[in-house]
């Protein structure tokens, strides 16, 4: 097993006819992902890369029984794209685009409340289940199927952590990039719950970074578990200087000044293994008796 998607999941590509969408769709198809439909307004009835194209998500769902979607639509259209997947009760959706307006994200978050959709992103590499399905833009040839569940708030560090699991001699059950943006559709906790339940996943790797309290929520959830699977975590940005130059000023007034050390301490206190450098992850993984 894996989480969110596997080799049987019927996948839709929203905005399939674009250049980037075509590039990554071709790769995903070659790797065995079940891409059964594409959506591109006014292109309905045609085929693209051998995939049938529909005008709307509704038509794709009605004709092809779509279960998951990856959005290659530009940032300004992500809100509409999410509305379509929520209305059609698609279980898992990923938005790749960078630069979705914050106000749109506030409205998306309101839409998602009580919906049947797990929305990942935006500004993320997406979700990949090695040897199963790729819902996004992950690099080629770095993943193998295995026992580690990976969740990350930093797109590029996701790849780095994947390489660390490989270096330790493990593969990944599923890799989930939550997205780099200030507000993202899904936080750590929802995904940790899935990994905790997934028999294939033996341990989790969690990559956090400065900004917000996503890591504190993860720590609180982890502490509440009866038999948690081992979790190794890394927080990017130990140096305070970054906080002032890169952070959102509103964070301090809403939640106080939170440093990487604060986050690490919360995670340690919850029983997670915390590493100071991302390239120490493989060492910690090797120490686990999985």
């Amino acid at each position: 097993m894996s989480i969110l998607i596997n080799e049987h999941t019927k996948i839709l590509v929203q905005g399939i006819t674009g250049t980037q969408a075509s590039f990554h769709t071709r790769r995903a198809l070659a790797a065995g992902t079940q891409i059964v439909a594409g959506v591109s307004p006014q292109r309905g009835g045609t085929e693209h890369l051998g995939v049938p194209v529909f005008n709307t998500v509704r038509e794709a769902v009605e004709n092809k029984g779509v279960e998951a979607s990856v959005m290659f639509v530009p940032a300004r259209f992500v809100k509409d794209a999410v509305q379509e997947v929520v209305e059609n009760e698609i279980k898992t959706a990923v938005a790749i685009a960078e630069g979705v307006p914050i106000k749109d994200m506030l409205e998306i978050k309101a839409m998602l409340k009580g919906s049947k959709t797990t929305f990942i992103g935006p500004n993320t590499p997406g979700v990949i289940t090695p040897a199963g399905a790729c819902l996004g833009i992950f690099p080629e040839n770095i993943h193998t199927k295995g026992a580690i569940g990976l969740i990350s708030r930093s797109s590029t560090l996701t790849y780095e952590a994947v390489l660390e699991t490989e270096r330790a001699g493990f593969g990944q059950s599923t890799v989930v990039g939550l997205g780099d943006d200030m507000i993202v559709g899904t936080g750590f906790v929802e995904i940790m719950k899935l990994f905790q339940e997934d028999p294939q996943t033996k341990a989790m790797v969690i990559l956090g970074k400065l900004g917000g309290t996503y890591e504190e929520e993860a720590a609180a959830y982890y502490a509440s578990l009866q038999n948690p699977k081992p979790a190794i975590s890394y927080i990017a940005g130990s140096l305070a200087a970054f906080n002032d130059k890169m952070g959102y000023a509103g964070d301090v007034v809403t939640h106080g000044r939170i440093t990487a050390e604060d986050k690490k301490n919360a995670m340690r206190a919850a029983g997670m293994i915390v590493v100071d450098h991302i390239n120490e992850i493989h060492l910690s993984l090797q120490n686990l008796s999985l």
Partner: protein, 400 residues
């Protein structure tokens, strides 16, 4: 994107926030004329327009500007002329500008408002609750310090995505601030106006620090700050021209032009090129552990245009403080070969005079390595992040 106080006040005033009479001045003579037009008699406020908080407690680098800070209260026309002459063209240093300070090229001249009370008011985004949050405090000045030391002195109200505050919320704010009853209506009007501006303009922060309570109970914005969501500026073509390019350094502006992020740390000698801010944070941590410092970094994000990437790389290559370059690319959306092409074309234009270590991983990595090999450039390739740091430090020692 941030704007100046005078611009923020003009915008807020259009939405119904009361502001003192005032006008921007670029010369001392202009400042005097503005003051005369506002009123026969003083006092007037002279306010240096740089994008920074704590202007009043700041100081000027130049002696001629006098010992007072960037906000001055003056009684006579002649004082306005003299003090404006002192401040204009001088460099103001505050808690937030760094030691370099910022050049004062314009002054906002404003009527002086007699107030009986001042308080802090702002609207921000709470990313964890995904809502707009209203903050007030019965004090003014450094709100981040207050948020850390005495958070109970700040009232936070979750406004959801509402376009107006409720009557009950207005009462709660009023009670928290100990305002008189006659200020209740102005209070609701103030926040409704701020909220309208916030949601209509895709702001991410509107701060009035402080709001002045006048004897008749009315409320006036004595200062104003608005930060806009860069990603939503396409919806507000009228806002973009308000950007003051002098507020940012040239390299950062160039990077923005290409859709990249550039940050300069005013320290260290290593320039980094990455794709992702998490990666920048991680590399910086690694360098720090090796007793080295990141001088600046360029985040090319998911760039897919070869020419833009080349132009971005030049920003780092031509930074005179950079004595070694570390390029760490984990290609997903971004393809490594585009970065390799960018390196070659940038080096051919501006020359490569410092050690450069490249680490490619992910999409089209082998193709990228091949491009660098065939270029004949003295580029060092590394296998992983710590290897890239080690190789760069060794090469820099050899070069020194």
């Amino acid at each position: 994107m941030n704007i100046h106080e005078y611009q923020a006040k003009q915008i807020l005033s259009r939405y119904g926030v009361r502001i003192p009479l005032g006008k921007i001045a670029y010369t001392p003579g202009e400042a005097k004329r503005v003051a005369e037009n506002i009123s026969h008699k003083g006092p007037w406020m002279l306010k240096a327009q740089i994008q920074s908080g704590a202007r009043e407690s700041g100081h000027f680098i130049e002696k001629r500007a006098g010992v007072k800070g960037g906000i001055r209260c003056l009684k006579g026309h002649r004082d306005v002329l003299e003090e404006a002459a002192k401040m204009l063209g001088a460099t103001l240093v505050t808690d937030q500008t760094g030691a370099k300070g910022k050049l004062v090229s314009k002054i906002y001249v404003e009527e002086f408002c007699l107030t009986v009370q001042k308080f802090y008011a702002s609207l921000v985004i709470d990313r964890m609750l995904s809502c707009i949050t209203l903050l007030v405090a019965n004090t003014f000045g450094n709100i981040t310090a207050l948020a850390q030391k005495e958070p109970e002195k700040i009232l936070r109200l979750n406004l959801g995505l509402n376009e107006k505050i409720s009557a009950q919320q207005a009462m709660q704010i009023s009670a928290f601030l100990h305002l008189k009853e006659k200020s209740l209506k102005p209070l609701k009007e103030l926040f409704d106006a701020m909220l309208k501006a916030f949601t209509s303009l895709d702001a991410v922060m509107i701060e009035i620090n402080p709001v002045g309570v006048c004897t008749d109970g009315s409320l006036t914005a004595l200062d104003a700050k608005i930060a806009f969501d860069d990603n939503a500026l396409f919806r507000h073509p009228e806002i973009l021209p308000l950007k003051d390019d002098y507020e940012e350094d040239d390299r950062s502006l160039q990077a923005q032009k290409f859709g990249f992020q550039y940050l300069d740390f005013d320290e260290g000698s290593i320039g980094c090129i990455v794709n992702g801010d998490g990666l920048a944070l991680s590399v910086r941590d690694l360098l720090y552990n090796a007793d080295e410092k990141m001088s600046c970094f360029l985040n090319v994000k998911g760039g897919v245009d070869k020419d833009k990437i080349s132009a971005g790389i030049k920003i780092i290559m031509t930074n005179p403080r950079v004595e070694g370059i570390l390029i760490n690319i984990l290609g997903g959306f971004l393809r490594c070969n585009l970065v390799a092409d960018g390196i070659v074309s940038a080096a051919s234009e501006v020359g490569l005079n410092v050690p450069l270590v490249v680490r490619f991983e992910g999409t089209n990595k082998e193709e990228a390595k091949e491009i660098l090999k065939n270029s004949g450039l003295p580029v060092i390739t590394a296998e992983n992040m710590e290897d890239s740091v080690e190789k760069l430090l060794t090469a820099m020692k050899e070069a020194a």
